[in-house]
């Protein structure tokens, strides 16, 4: 995975290296033509986005099935995927709705969970400077962990531009809306918990977590969050453990990194 580590080590490499290598072998990817004059932007974007789209299908189906079991109507699932387009937040929303959480608690949790995109947006901004603001506004909608990882790798290699990058974003978005909606439709025929769908969210979090553990500081931050969240969850009612433990553990990790840097 060392090939797509970003300089500051916060890379989001949720896509598979072997699938990325496949597209890297494509001839159009190695040519250093002026991207603006190149008419093959859609094909380039589609080739780069297919690993994301493929990865979204099982997760999207699982989300749709869970939403269906939570008695969220099919049209509402489609509306959620179009308006929100953030996988883990949508899973949490379904879980919180099932648990009877308030709308404001869900919106606030979504905000905290998706704050991480602030960092990705900052990093991708460097490659989109000078672009018209209306285009920036459109691009921001599609910044996810996965599209960020793929687009940043392409931008750094060169021959990548706004049109190719937003093609990646929007094809991933299309795959997400279609697979979540399909899951909600199919879900009506699948009994609750069948085929381990109850574990889909946990498995996704486990994989995303593993991909984040770049060095010992992140491992220690994770352990701190596990301990604090477990204790917070047991002793304090409600859902505040997510925000409380996240902010506490991130702060601990931050000072651990400061301490490590100061000893260099």
């Amino acid at each position: 995975m060392a090939t797509h580590k970003t300089e500051r080590g916060f890379s989001k490499k949720r896509h598979r290296p072997e699938t990325l290598n496949f597209s890297e072998q494509h001839p159009s990817m190695t040519e250093q033509t002026d991207p603006a004059d190149d008419a093959s932007w859609f094909r380039d974007g589609a080739l780069a986005s297919w690993p994301i789209c493929f990865g979204y299908i099982p997760i999207g189906l699982a989300l749709g099935v869970l939403a269906n079991q939570a008695e969220i109507p099919v049209w509402a699932v489609a509306m959620m995927s179009v308006l929100v387009f953030a996988g883990s937040a949508q899973f949490i929303c379904v879980a919180m709705l099932t648990a009877g959480a308030s709308i404001w608690a869900i919106i606030f949790t979504t905000f905290v969970v998706n704050l991480r995109h602030f960092l990705m947006s900052s990093a991708v901004a460097v490659h989109l400077s000078g672009l018209r603001r209306i285009l920036l506004n459109l691009f921001a909608y599609g910044i996810t962990d996965e599209s960020f990882a793929v687009n940043m790798a392409r931008f750094r290699r060169g021959g990548w531009d706004f049109k190719r990058a937003i093609t990646v974003n929007q094809l991933a978005n299309l795959a997400w809306v279609l697979s979540t909606t399909s899951g909600a439709v199919i879900g009506q025929f699948i009994p609750r918990g069948a085929f381990g769908t109850d574990y889909a969210l946990t498995a996704m979090f486990l994989a995303l977590l593993l991909f984040q553990l770049h060095n010992m500081i992140y491992v220690l931050t994770g352990i701190a969050a596990l301990v604090i969240a477990t204790a917070w969850y047991i002793f304090i009612p409600g859902n505040s453990y997510i925000i409380g433990a996240s902010i506490s553990a991130a702060t601990i990790g931050f000072f651990l990194k400061r301490y490590q840097d100061s000893r260099k």
Binding site: F118, Q212, A245
Partner: protein
């Protein structure tokens, strides 16, 4: 919940999701964030994921008490190993679901 409840909920979620994706792109185009903020934000994904996982893996969620050695935790170990080996998000989700399903059939 009716149409307007869902519209309000998802509209609100969409807005708070869009803002952090949009703000840096719009205002910080070439400027860099202060290093301390970058460092702190880089810890957030790991911290959030562990906070979300902790009660699922280590507690009984109906009584909100400590519960070690749950099937959710035991299945997590091979699931993590699969993720480590393959780096595949979709594959890990499918394997985790499959193992959890098998554990419910054979172990408990």
């Amino acid at each position: 919940m009716n149409f307007s409840d869902y519209l309000f909920l998802f509209g609100g979620m969409g807005l708070v999701t869009y803002l952090p994706r949009w703000l840096p792109l719009f205002y910080l185009a070439q400027r860099r964030l202060p290093q301390w903020l970058i460092d702190w934000l880089s810890m957030i994904p790991v911290a959030i994921l562990c906070s979300l996982l902790a009660p699922i893996l280590f507690t009984d969620q109906s009584s909100r008490s400590l519960s070690l050695g749950k099937p959710e935790f035991l299945v997590a170990i091979p699931t993590l190993l699969f993720a480590l080996k393959t780096k595949s998000l979709g594959g890990t989700v499918l394997v985790g679901m499959g193992l959890y399903w098998l554990s419910s059939l054979f172990l408990w």
